[in-house]
């Protein structure tokens, strides 16, 4: 029943997509379309949520006569799919609600409206697909619709380049997944997931499949070093699509990884978790360091998605390690932490992109160096953005802290692992996780402080107005989710129990029975956390302090010029900028990671010209990995260019030579 409802929702989204060109002609049309998307997403969300909570072990499946005639299109809604479906439709619904109001600022609705519902439908379909062909088809459909949305403002040269790089990476990722599924399906070609599950691939095949999945799903999710497209493409799209791509589409990629590695591939070997952990740790710390160096607000958020993907994959890697050693409870804890972070990140990253979108429409600026003081002009939007910043920085009592806390608890269970490699690697991963959490806090002090606090750095800020009702409604729905999941994490963990039960055959202790709504990952004597009590304590202590001081001491306030040690500078340009805020961290970490160099050019004495500070950063991933590949492709293309201008005789002889060669290889092989 729930599966049918979701499939009908997908069909409705596809139909809505066909009406996109018509709807884009008028503002009312756009409103109706986004309203429809909102209603459909809400329906699909409730269906998925019902399935997750009340579905138990039942997994409705359906076979539609579409696609390949001998295969058909399999769809199935198990607990994992239900969870990701809920995440996708929550993000989709919030984005639609946001765009109901924000959409009137869209300069090119005819390039957004036809693709937006299709993009939502594609993400739903990927999660539902139950055979390799449908999965890949929907995956590619998702890539193409999101590419079309990235190219919505295609006259901007940067966006065109972002779209080009995105298209290449997406095709590469799908190719890797295609090969991976080919290996999984084996020579008999059993492409249905049910057939893949019963076949047990040999260790070599499993290793290849893991590598190909890391390439395919990892490039979509943004694992370093496959992340290069992400910070280009996500900010280029309209803001609600940026939120969807960063908050939701990367999660669909995580789903693809979990589906293949945890579900289809069978029992993992312990070293596969080492590969995942190393990549995840590098991703987490590199992502946040990249983010710290940015001064474009949307690009900063996009880079920060890379960090969060790293945190999610740390949880997944730990789950793989525990599962390979038969520690089911610990595997369930690590997997729950990862999935909890999937949910959390989809919530607060969407929230932050909505905030950035409101700043962009309010001021016309994405460059943080030209913003500042927006907390006075946009009080409600800035409050919502602040909550998102606190949540993403993993600070209690909001939700980001809970998932990181669970990950730390999983790390603390790992000394029981027998393998030495893991014993030595995991504490280092823990240190990297703590480092990236601390750097994330620094990054969001910078993002909020430079954008919303201080004095306006350009006249663009002076005309800013707060976001409209619908945008604010979308943001505050997500704000309340950040708070709810932070103070009441127990129900979320319990909802995930069915997922971990089906994937690692274990579950965390039921949290519903724990007194005072606390959470207990392993046992009460070992560790526990109660977000609600912490929240209540902080609120009570702050209110008590305010009450006592206002009643018994002073309550007077006087406004005056800023003190600034007696020399306040009237020009707002003397404030700390985003670049100067990041300078200490750039000096500590950037000199190695980015080869950061600072050059100061001082005018000679007597010359009144300005001094110049120039900062050079190198993206070593691009320079060492992608630039050589680009060069090699260009070189080969130039060399092969002359093959375009041959006579028919030569072409025929080339074809003949190739045929002989292939026959020779075949003869030698067999």
């Amino acid at each position: 029943m729930t599966l049918l409802i979701v499939l009908c929702c997908v069909a409705a989204l596809l139909v809505a997509s066909c009406f996109g060109p018509v709807a884009s002609r008028s503002r009312a049309g756009a409103t109706i379309l986004y309203g429809t998307c909102l209603a459909i997403s809400a329906l699909a969300f409730s269906a998925a949520f019902t399935q997750l909570i009340a579905g138990g072990a039942a997994t409705p499946a359906i076979l539609l006569p579409l696609g390949l005639p001998w295969l058909g299109a399999h769809f199935r809604l198990d607990a994992l799919a239900a969870f990701f479906l809920a995440v996708v439709n929550l993000g989709g619904g919030a984005a639609s609600l946001y765009e109901l109001g924000h959409g009137r600022h869209e300069p090119a609705p005819q390039r957004v409206l036809p693709f937006y519902p299709a993009f939502l439908a594609a993400m739903n379909l990927v999660v539902l697909a139950d055979d390799a062909f449908t999965f890949l088809l929907c995956w590619e459909f998702m890539s193409l619709t999101s590419w079309a949305l990235v190219m919505a403002h295609h006259r901007d040269a940067d966006n065109a380049r972002a779209g080009y790089i995105y298209l290449i990476t997406a095709s590469f990722g799908t190719l890797a997944l295609l090969l991976g599924f080919g290996l999984l399906a084996g020579p008999e070609g059993g492409y249905a997931f049910a057939a893949i599950r019963v076949g047990h691939p040999s260790p070599t095949i499993a290793a290849f499949v893991l590598a190909l999945t890391l390439l395919g799903a990892g490039s979509k999710a943004g694992l370093v070093p496959l992340h290069v497209w992400l910070p280009l493409a996500h900010p280029a799209a309209p803001s609600h699509v940026s939120a969807l791509m960063s908050g939701v589409m990367t999660k669909v990629a995580v789903y693809g990884f979990i589906r293949i590695v945890f579900d289809l591939l069978g029992e993992p070997s312990w070293w596969s978790s080492m590969v995942v952990l190393v990549l995840a740790a590098i991703t987490a710390v590199m992502g946040v360091l990249y983010a710290l160096m940015q001064h474009d607000l949307k690009r900063l958020l996009a880079y920060h998605t890379v960090e969060n993907i790293g945190i999610i994959f740390i949880g997944l890697g730990l789950a793989l390690a525990f599962r390979a050693n038969g520690m089911r409870g610990a595997a369930a804890l690590a997997l729950t932490a990862a999935l909890f972070h999937v949910f959390n990140h989809s919530v607060f990253k969407s929230l932050l992109f909505f905030g950035a979108g409101s700043v962009l429409t309010g001021t016309g600026e994405r460059d943080m160096e030209r913003l500042g003081g927006l907390i006075h002009r946009m009080p409600l939007a800035s409050f919502a953005f602040l909550v998102g910043c606190v949540a993403i920085s993993a600070l209690p009592p909001l939700n980001g802290f809970v998932s990181e806390w669970l990950t730390f608890q999983a790390i603390l269970l790992s000394p029981a692992l027998p393998q030495w490699g893991l014993k030595i690697l995991i504490p280092a991963v823990g240190a990297v996780l703590a480092l990236s959490a601390a750097l994330a806090a620094a990054c969001f002090v910078k993002a909020f402080g430079v954008t919303f606090l201080g004095r306006p750095r350009s006249p663009a800020v002076a005309k800013a107005v707060d976001a409209d009702r619908f945008s604010l409604a979308a943001m505050f729905v997500l704000v309340s989710l950040c708070l709810l999941a932070g103070v009441l994490p127990g129900p979320v963990i319990d909802a995930l129990a069915q997922v971990t039960q089906s994937l690692v055959a274990g579950r965390m202790p039921a949290q519903g029975a724990v007194p005072w709504l606390a959470i207990v990952p392993v046992s009460a004597s070992r560790s526990s956390y109660d977000g609600l009590l912490v929240f209540v304590f902080i609120a009570l202590a702050a209110l008590l302090a305010a009450f006592v001081i206002h009643r018994l001491a002073s309550r007077g306030v006087r406004r005056s010029a800023a003190w600034d040690c007696g020399y306040p500078d009237p020009s707002p340009l003397t404030q700390y900028t985003a670049a100067s805020f990041a300078q200490p961290i750039r000096r500590v970490f950037g000199t190695i990671v980015f080869r950061a160099r600072e050059r100061v050019t001082l005018p000679p004495p007597g010359d009144t010209g300005p001094a110049v500070l120039q900062v050079d950063l190198q993206d070593l991933v691009w320079d060492w990995l992608y630039a050589p590949i680009c060069y090699a492709v260009g070189f080969a293309a130039t060399r092969l260019n002359y093959l375009q201008f041959l006579t028919i005789r030569r072409y025929l002889s080339l074809v003949f030579a190739l045929l002989v060669l292939l026959l020779l290889i075949l003869a030698l092989w067999l």
Partner: protein, 318 residues
């Protein structure tokens, strides 16, 4: 009945930390002054300062936002809650399970997050310089602290601070290499987190060398009082933490009678005094380092912590 008694112990602890914290700051200042052959202000001077500040009006910069006015209360509340969850005179705290050591560290990180934002709110360069340097220091101190937490949690088999303290008091931990490394790392982190010499100078009047003081430059009146009190509470928290983990003797076990609690209180005050005096001696004996030497200092703490955690991961016997 038991619940009421435990609640009373928890409330007593909350009040105790709040009341003792300014005296600790006063003691450190007094000892430093005596070591410099000055007479120094009385130990109770911080109470007088707080009372004076609380009575004065707040002078706000013209463009200060609501965040600037809310932040002192948030910082104070988060630090107070964190300090109230660290065992002082006894180990059986009622709400110990609501936030473990990781959560206590994160509460302090929340306080710092908002203080760093407040530093940027008025839009002066000094506030920005303070915030920017503070988050740089935190970005190294927090992972080092987390490694120390890992080590302790693996030794005691729990991240609950009361359980760890009880375990340490029982003597079951014994002398361990990892514990020694964690102890040194914790002292280094505590110095950095509390903005003491050699990382930061709490008494400086040269703005460019300030970190914590630069962030709170625009604060005045009751707001400043709350921030000063929160800073004192944080210092007390770290000394209590070191005391309950590494010199846990004399702490009252979770039980009935009043006598152990009184002994525990006496022992706790003695430990605080010794901690404060040692801090003053250390601060007098050492010079402040340049801001870009701080990463080396904290990097050493991080490596010590990592080494300690690694030893515990590799073998139970270290």
């Amino acid at each position: 009945m038991a619940l009421i008694r435990e609640l009373a112990i928890q409330m007593a602890q909350m009040l105790l930390v709040l009341l003792v914290a300014p005296a600790l700051v006063g003691l450190v200042r007094k000892v430093k002054a005596r070591l410099l052959r000055r007479r120094g202000a009385p130990i109770l001077q911080p109470y007088r300062d707080l009372r004076r500040l609380l009575r004065k009006d707040v002078v706000l910069a013209e463009n200060a936002s609501w965040l600037f006015r809310v932040t002192p209360y948030l910082i104070f509340a988060a630090t107070w809650v964190a300090a109230a969850l660290v065992p002082t005179f006894g180990t059986g705290l009622l709400f110990s399970w609501s936030a473990d050591l990781i959560a206590i560290i994160a509460l302090l990180a929340s306080a710092r997050f908002f203080l760093a934002l407040a530093g940027m709110d008025v839009g002066t360069s000094f506030g920005g310089i303070g915030s920017s340097r503070d988050v740089m220091i935190a970005s190294l101190a927090e992972p080092a602290m987390m490694m120390i937490v890992f080590t302790l949690a693996l030794i005691a088999g729990s991240t609950q601070l009361s359980t760890i303290a009880g375990f340490m008091e029982s003597g079951a931990a014994g002398l361990r290499v990892s514990l020694g490394l964690a102890f040194i790392a914790l002292i280094m982190v505590a110095i950095a987190e509390n903005a003491r010499i050699p990382v930061d100078n709490p008494a400086t009047h040269l703005e460019l060398t300030m970190v914590h003081e630069a962030m709170v430059l625009e604060y005045s009146g009751r707001h400043l009082a709350l921030i000063e009190l929160a800073a004192a509470l944080k210092l007390l928290l770290y000394i209590s933490l070191i005391a309950c983990l590494f010199i846990p003797w004399g702490m009252a076990p979770p039980g009935e009678s009043v006598a152990p609690a009184l002994v525990g209180t006496g022992a706790y005050l003695a430990k605080l005094a010794i901690g404060g005096i040692l801090l003053a001696v250390f601060e007098t004996a050492i010079a402040k380092m340049r801001v870009f030497r701080v990463p080396d200092f904290l990097g050493a703490a991080l490596m010590l912590g990592l080494l300690a955690a690694l030893l515990r991961f590799v073998s139970e016997s270290f």
